[in-house]
């Protein structure tokens, strides 16, 4: 098992653990953090591929993902704050009425 396989395996493991966290946990903030973990796994795979092919495309994409992740968290946090202000809880089950 060479280095590339190891790193891609690590990236996919991080992505899967993040996905598991999003499905399994009930706390809204913890689910947000698990999404960040998924983004980190994807970043690692992009960096690995960029290293393997010695191109800058992957690095550029990682840079753009950093920006998107920051914008996403800057929007997600106020939304969570609004939700919690209404119901006084972080548990996902309390927001069943959001499904319309």
């Amino acid at each position: 098992m060479d280095r590339t396989q190891l790193l891609i395996g690590l990236a996919m493991a991080l992505f899967s653990i993040g996905l598991l966290g999003v499905i399994v946990r009930r706390n809204v903030l913890v689910m947000l953090m698990c999404m960040e973990l998924m983004l980190n796994g994807v970043n690692l795979s992009l960096v690995t591929f960029a290293q393997q092919t010695a191109t800058t495309v992957g690095a550029v994409l990682v840079f753009l993902i950093f920006v998107v992740a920051t914008a996403e968290i800057a929007l997600a946090i106020p939304i969570v704050l609004l939700l919690v202000r209404g119901k006084r809880t972080l548990k996902l089950d309390a927001y069943n009425d959001l499904k319309g």
Binding site: D2, V24, N40, L44, Q52, L64, T70, A71
Partner: protein
């Protein structure tokens, strides 16, 4: 000892990868959001170490600066601000068993796929380290449009955040007066 020094990079890579995995596993297991946040911070720092070992030092710096310095500090700040303590009740949702089964299946399929698909290293490939100057020239020459679109995205995010705040203020006023 000589062997150890020659393979120091691979060993460090393994160590950092293992630590990142442990941090990610702790995120699933721990209950308090603050501990989960700290586990995520450690995972991100170890990933930054991996990027540094791979030779993309500027991405390692961005990882620590942007993810740990901005995103996670924001997250920790919000956890402290909310201070909703919920030690009671179940930690996991009702989807625990299907979630774990799906996790194992996805991981198995992906690992088998990687095992078969990734070609064996062909000598020169794998040490494509490049500095920030190569990255910057390529970034601003070929990807200037994406760079500009990023600024459009940031403006949209700022406007949306303002809109969210306005909605919350309107709801506050309605709650106070009616």
């Amino acid at each position: 000892m000589n062997y150890l020094l020659q393979n120091l990079e691979t060993l460090l890579l393994l160590l950092f990868g293992l630590c990142a995995l442990v941090g990610a596993g702790l995120m699933i297991v721990l209950r308090q959001p603050m501990r989960v946040a700290l586990a995520l911070v450690s995972t991100m720092i170890f990933l930054g170490g991996i990027y540094g070992l791979l030779g993309v030092h500027f991405i390692a710096a961005f990882q620590v600066l942007i993810y740990v310095g901005a995103v996670m500090v924001f997250m920790v700040y919000v956890i402290m601000l909310l201070e909703v303590r919920e030690a009671t009740g179940a930690k996991y949702s009702a989807l625990l068993v299907p979630g774990i089964v799906g996790f194992v299946l996805v991981l198995g399929v992906i690992v088998i796929g990687i095992w078969r698909a990734v070609p064996a290293p062909t000598g020169a490939a794998g040490n494509g380290a490049y500095g920030i100057s190569t990255f910057a020239v390529s970034f601003l020459n070929e990807y200037w449009l994406h760079f500009e679109l990023t600024s459009v995205l940031l403006v949209a995010a700022v406007v949306a955040a303002m809109a969210v705040i306005k909605v919350s203020r309107a709801a506050d006023r309605k709650g106070r007066h009616g």
